[in-house]
Amino acid sequence: MSFSIKKQGEVVVVDVEGQLIVGNRQELKQKVLDELEKGEKKFLIDFSQTGYIDSSGLGVLVSLSKKIREQGGELRLANLNVDLQTLFELTKLDTLFQISDTRERALESF
């Protein structure tokens, strides 16, 4: 379980490897907030290597999305696997985020 952060153009891209759960959600949150504090505005979280997100992981995504919006920025998600996509649809979370199938499409959409 780890997060890697890199910058592609103007967008901060975060890769979540493994799981986003109660045990590591604060680490993700802090990493993204640190970038936000540095003045970054555009964020993409890529879940292509993510197997599972638990409810506290979802909570962090919602809270990050709010905080980024408050600073005039945008958060987008990409590469949700079928299970995660179903979870987002069933819980109507898909209405709260801009979700793209691929990283390229997400980057283009900013």
């Binding site: 409810s55 506290s56 979802l58 979870l87 069933l90 819980t91 109507k92 979370l93 209405t95």
Partner: protein, 528 residues
């Protein structure tokens, strides 16, 4: 000294001269006879150093010589039988024999003393082992241990200081020769303190008395001092817990390497005792915590309504199994006017105490709103308003399904905020998902939308469960999946709701095979 006496008697027979061996007492005490050839031999008035000298006496002249290489032992030859005088050659003859004998005798004496000391040390270690074995708290044992050590090494002042990680100070738990209250806490970082240095370096220190300033220990660090770290040794290495200090030696001699070794051995035992005492306390705390958690579990289960509150209009079976002693899953049942039944299932994000607190708030707020708000959408909207502040502060949210079954009118009206698993199963086995219209409570400020569909009185089943059930993992980390839950329910749909619920949990048990659940599990089945 019978053997030496025999030598001297043989000497007299051969030389016609008496002989005696004299040894000095401790300190300034006068020398006494160690062996002599007969009682006629008297101690000479003068005991010279080497070389020997002739001393006149009442019975004749004696040649007095100090015995080589043995401290404070003299050989006298004379007086002699008439016609004989003591001669240097007599002395030269006897001297090597006496010297050899005395050296051997002294070695035996030293060995005996050494043995005596080792015995005392072994006895001390044994005693301390026994003291520590009998007691639970260190304070009880510390003073007794200090008394035993200071007796053995002859120290008038002794103290045991234990490190407090919270303040990073060494604090006296026991002291001898000085009141514990006169030993102020010593900062472990104190550069002048002997104890602090020993604690930091984890190495014992022998301080030779003269001209040393003891820093913080000056009130009690008189004369010589021996300071030894108290260590707790673990497989991953040693950890210092405190310091044993001994000072002001009766003999005024510096502490020896042997003393240091002995006190180090005792300090290790004290270290084990300190650690044991900590573990006992931690274990008691743990027991208390477990009792409180089990109490909290019981309390939380009592918040959930009995399923017969909605009887006879509705037949409901529900079960909540928290992953920890308390959890964030809940259900709620309301008897509505005109034969209707309100049923709610909720899953607070996360689990444990924080989730349980939000759950309790949601339970009580929903009970109030359900009485005054007929529409499920408006009811969940009111619930959001009640919990908004709490949810925002804690960054938590709740997925909630709330439905009102109205058999007389043949309808089910529901609002679903982010709850993924809500279904109606018809008598024919058709499964209809009651999808969420909005994200979970706490994520948005939208007013939850409501929907209505038909309800077959006494035939349709309302099935609600949380993702703890569908996400339950087996040993190979495979999810149980929503489909298998619904297949089981469809298969047993015409049985009593309690049977359906048992079948689902039995199937879940066959899947997980004892792997503990990481999320709360909740299932509600209703027929009305």
């Amino acid at each position: 000294m019978k053997e030496l006496e025999a030598v001297l008697i043989a000497f007299r027979e051969g030389t016609h001269c008496e002989a005696g061996v004299w040894g000095g007492g401790e300190g300034r005490a006068a020398p006494t006879a160690i062996a002599r050839s007969s009682a006629k031999v008297q101690m000479p008035d003068v005991l010279p150093g080497e070389p020997g000298q002739s001393v006149p006496g009442n019975f004749g002249t004696q040649l007095v010589t100090r015995v080589h290489s043995v401290r404070k032992v003299w050989l006298t030859v004379g007086p002699c039988d008439p016609g004989h005088t003591p001669e240097d050659r007599h002395v030269n003859l006897l001297m090597p024999v006496v010297a050899q004998f005395m050296k051997a005798a002294l070695e035996v004496e030293h060995a005996a003393t050494e043995l005596g000391e080792r015995y005392e040390e072994i006895n001390l270690l044994y005693t301390i082992g026994e003291i520590l074995g009998r007691t639970v708290t260190l304070e009880e044992a510390a003073t007794t241990i200090l008394t035993e050590i200071s007796e053995t090494v002859g120290a008038r002042v002794a103290s045991i200081l234990v490190h407090d990680p919270a303040t990073n100070t060494l604090n006296a738990v026991a002291a001898l020769g000085v009141p514990t209250s006169q030993i102020p806490p010593i900062s472990a970082a104190d550069p002048t303190s002997v104890s602090a240095r020993v604690f930091r370096t984890q190495h014992p220190l022998i301080v030779i008395g003269k001209g040393v300033t003891f820093g913080t220990e000056s009130p009690y660090g008189r004369g010589e001092m021996l300071s030894v770290p108290i260590m707790w040794t673990t497989p991953s290495g040693g950890q210092p817990l405190g310091v044993v200090n001994l000072a002001d030696r009766r003999s005024r001699q510096p502490f020896s390497a042997g003393d240091q070794k002995l006190v180090t051995a005792i300090a290790t035992q004290i270290g084990t005792a300190i650690q044991n005492a900590k573990l006992v306390l931690a274990s008691l705390d743990q027991q208390r915590l477990q009792q409180e958690m089990s109490l909290a579990h019981d309390l939380q289960m009592k918040l959930l309504p009995a399923t017969n509150v909605v009887a006879p209009e509705a037949e409901v079976t529900a079960r909540v199994v928290p992953a920890e002693s308390v959890g964030g899953d809940f259900y709620q049942l309301f008897k509505m006017r005109d034969g209707g039944t309100g049923v709610m299932i909720g899953d607070v994000s996360g689990h444990g105490y924080r989730a349980a607190l939000i759950m309790a708030l949601a339970m009580s707020a929903s009970a109030i709103h359900a009485q005054i708000t007929a529409s499920p959408g408006a009811m969940l909207g009111a619930l959001t308003n009640s919990l908004r502040e709490e949810l925002e502060q804690t960054e938590m949210f709740i997925s909630v399904f709330y439905g009102v079954v109205d058999p007389p009118n043949g309808t089910l009206t529901y609002a679903n905020t982010g709850h993924p698993h809500a279904f109606v199963v018809s008598q024919e086995g058709t499964v209809t998902r009651l999808a969420a219209g909005n994200p979970p409570l706490g994520m948005t400020d939208d007013t939850p939308a409501a929907a209505t569909l038909g309800w077959e009185k006494g035939k349709d089943l309302l099935v609600l469960f949380t993702d703890g059930i569908s996400d339950a993992r087996n040993a190979a980390d495979e999810r149980l999946g929503e489909e298998r839950v619904m297949e089981t329910i469809v298969e047993h749909r015409e049985k009593k709701t309690s049977v359906i619920l048992d079948e689902v949990f039995a199937m879940l048990g066959r899947h997980t095979r004892g792997i503990p659940s990481r999320d709360d599990l909740t299932l509600v089945v209703l027929r009305s």
